[in-house]
Symmetry: C2
Subunit: 279 residues, 2 copies
């Protein structure tokens, strides 16, 4: 891992690293906030998965999360949202497919299959790398926004015991049934829709092996709510499965980082509590 | 004033407005955060002046200020850093002159003199406009970063009684004696350096008529500290003039918005107290 930059913030450190990824067969950049407590001990980690068009930087700059994370003693890792530095056919043509839109799946279709393996990168490779190289424990939570909220829910539901906690802002709850998800899954996973189910939180929750409580915040003025996000279908599925879900609808709030900033502290406390930190 | 957008944040509202400015003879865009308290009463305003290359948006997205401002009941207004939409000779050639670099002066030299009048815009025109059109009182504080810190100090020192409070992050303290300032003042104000003094906080503080306490935060790892910012010279001038200054040096911090985010709450409380808000 090569350290690209380090900046002090709230008496902790925001670092950006570049490293070769075996999962994506490219170099990858990620950001990590290390709270001041790392001077004395290893700290647990919250993985934050960002949404369409984002890089590792959006959350760091806009979420206002480091103030409370520094107080709690919580590291936050922000991966990128796709491989970079490639030039695959149509990779940079649209905001919802290819670069900036990895959808946290392992692609099986060409031209994506050799590189667009963000599920493996986020769930397996990156934690192993960080736990070996940085002062963090193996205790972790996962959260995300929009496409990243989908990624967080899927990662947690598919890996019982791996995460202590999960939450999401305005997640794409049922990607097999919305335009963003159907476009991405068709390209990355092919036309056989049975292959899509492993990446759909609303389908996965029915067979979840672990009742990990899920916190979701959703703005009522979110332009993508009805067509792309569909939290009401996820809520139904959770109710049918008896899976614990707290879905909070917020009148007036949209899909932006101003919405995230408003409620991020609640999510940090949700994760910190499950990670055994003093809240 | 034309409302461009409104977003809910921390139960308050972030609005962007466009309006014709008489000072700059152009259209101008500004952002204003209105805290939830405006539903019941008018609130005081903090004017935030941004640094080189910024627009009205940088502070809103990156400073993490709205959480506490919403609690305090403080509006925050973020003007742009120069006129826009012009195409004057060399206006867009360099980051430290012309667009994004108005330096909060009233230019007297061509090609700038008809438009680059950001001092008048920020000190006179914008407050009059807002106090007539928005639910704000005439009580105001002023703060800023880098070029905007210079602007805030100059506005407060030149206008006794106008502002209840002033503060700055990493301000350009002595622009007549640093490369950024000398380049800008030569272009905007001409070669007669006696005309520059009215925009130099270190020179103005000697004749300040009002002992308004100044709060300045400065990172020790700021790349611009020695060559461009020179807080130690401002500190000397304040000591000689008996002007109250709290200059806090922060080891490890740089010039970025991560530095601002770390200490913005202290500044908001500094202003809120002077504005009679419950801190």
């Amino acid at each position: 891992m090569e350290l690209i930059s380090q900046q002090e913030v709230f008496d902790g450190w925001l670092r950006r690293y570049q490293h070769h990824s075996d999962a994506t067969a490219t170099d990858m950049v990620f950001a990590v906030f290390l709270p001041p407590q790392v001077a004395a001990a290893r700290v647990p980690v919250l993985y934050w998965l960002s949404g369409l068009t984002c890089t590792d930087e959006n959350f760091c700059q806009k979420a206002g999360a480091f103030r409370l994370a520094a107080k709690l003693g919580l590291a936050i890792v922000c991966p990128d949202t796709s491989p970079r530095g490639l030039d695959l056919p149509d990779e940079h043509e649209s905001y919802d497919l290819g670069s900036g839109a990895g959808f946290y799946v392992n692609a099986t279709e060409q031209p994506w299959a050799d590189h667009y393996r963000m599920y493996e990168y986020v769930v397996e490779e990156l934690p192993a790398l960080l736990e070996a190289a940085l002062p963090v424990t193996a205790d972790k939570g996962i959260a995300g926004h929009s496409m990243g909220g989908h990624g967080a829910l899927v990662a947690a539901l598919r890996n019982p015991g791996l995460y202590n906690s999960v939450s999401a802002f305005a997640p794409i709850c049922h990607p097999t049934q919305c335009p963003w998800g159907r476009k991405a899954f068709t390209a990355y996973l092919g036309p056989d829709e049975s292959q899509w189910e492993q990446y759909d939180a609303t389908l996965l929750v029915a067979k979840a092996e672990e009742p990990l409580p899920i916190l979701i915040d959703q703005g009522s003025k979110d332009d993508f709510l009805a067509e792309q996000l569909k939290p009401e279908l996820f809520k139904q599925a959770c109710e049918q499965a008896g899976h614990p879900l707290t879905l909070r609808m917020h009148p007036g709030y949209d899909h932006s980082y101003y919405f995230i900033a408003t409620f991020i502290d609640d999510h940090l406390r949700h994760h910190a509590e499950a990670l055994g930190l003093k809240v």
